[in-house]
Point group: C2
């Protein structure tokens, strides 16, 4: 397997267990609160990750392999998380995310992508031409963006509680590069 | 137990397992690289967390309970991580962090802190008067600061690999509020 792809898969495979270890059965102060109007709670983020597993990454891999630059990806629905979280507990969402991620990585491994496949190109609705390699790397960094966001959203709940220490705590200085 | 303290302990108890699930056996691209000169890799961060478990949080709790504002805390050694990481693998560090955190939380629970204890005051070498409640809240947000940092450091390794997607990935916009 191409080294970069192997690294990417290693990370993608671990995210669900890491989120489960961190968030399962935590008090709702940490998991259900957000950073204010039109921002996401950790639960919302997990629902968004589920939405991506269903409609974003693997469907786009299939489009690249089948159609190349001749078929633009469906725009990703940033509101898709609302349907995913409906009537679900955080624990149910964590399990759903783990199941979908595992299935998607199995499908990806079964594709046996060669280095030349990773250079195949697709057409993103707003970014234009992208490569499969770039998209798979983005999948991993997208996980990291949301771990970064979850840690920031959780820290926000204790912004006042830490008193004068706030100036030493980097996460409290983060301006929120990904409010959603 | 005072609700805020219970929430704080819930988070503190989960951090070691979350970091273990995420980082154990990951390729070194993710765990040993940093963001450039004088910045920390994920491995360095775990060594820093160990250093805090040994010399920062619980020792300061003891000082507050025993001496109140009459004894200034020892300044925390930001270079302490260098000794902790020496000759250790990431996996050894993750285990050491988990062991120390578990011991420290057991000690904290055994103190049976009452709400009025949480208002007791101590003297921080640069911040001045702080309360025990503020310090315990800071312990939790300090974990979150370093999760935030680890996700940012890891994302940095794929800054070029994601190509045009970089502008959509919040973690890549983070200016690094906690370079160490």
């Amino acid at each position: 397997m191409e080294p970069n792809l192997s690294q990417t898969l290693s990370l993608l495979a671990r995210t669900p267990a890491a989120l489960d270890s961190f968030l399962r059965d935590l008090p709702e102060t940490w998991t259900l609160r957000n950073e204010g109007e039109n921002t996401w709670s950790p639960l919302d983020v997990i629902a968004h990750l589920i939405s991506g597993e269903r409609t974003d990454w693997i469907p786009r891999v299939r489009i690249i392999l089948q159609f190349g630059e001749n078929k633009t990806f469906e725009p990703f629905d940033m509101q898709g998380y609302i349907q995913e979280r409906q009537d679900k507990t955080l624990e149910q969402l964590l399990e759903e995310f783990a199941r979908l991620r595992s299935e998607n990585l199995s499908e990806l491994r079964a594709m046996n992508l060669r280095p030349e496949d990773l250079q195949r190109r697709g057409l993103h609705p707003s970014l234009g031409v992208v490569t499969l390699s770039q998209m798979l790397s983005t999948w991993a960094v997208h996980d990291l963006t949301h771990l970064h966001q979850i840690s920031r959203v959780m820290a926000h709940q204790y912004r006042d509680a830490v008193g004068p220490w706030s100036k030493y705590l980097g996460v409290l200085q983060c301006a929120g590069h990904s409010s959603t």
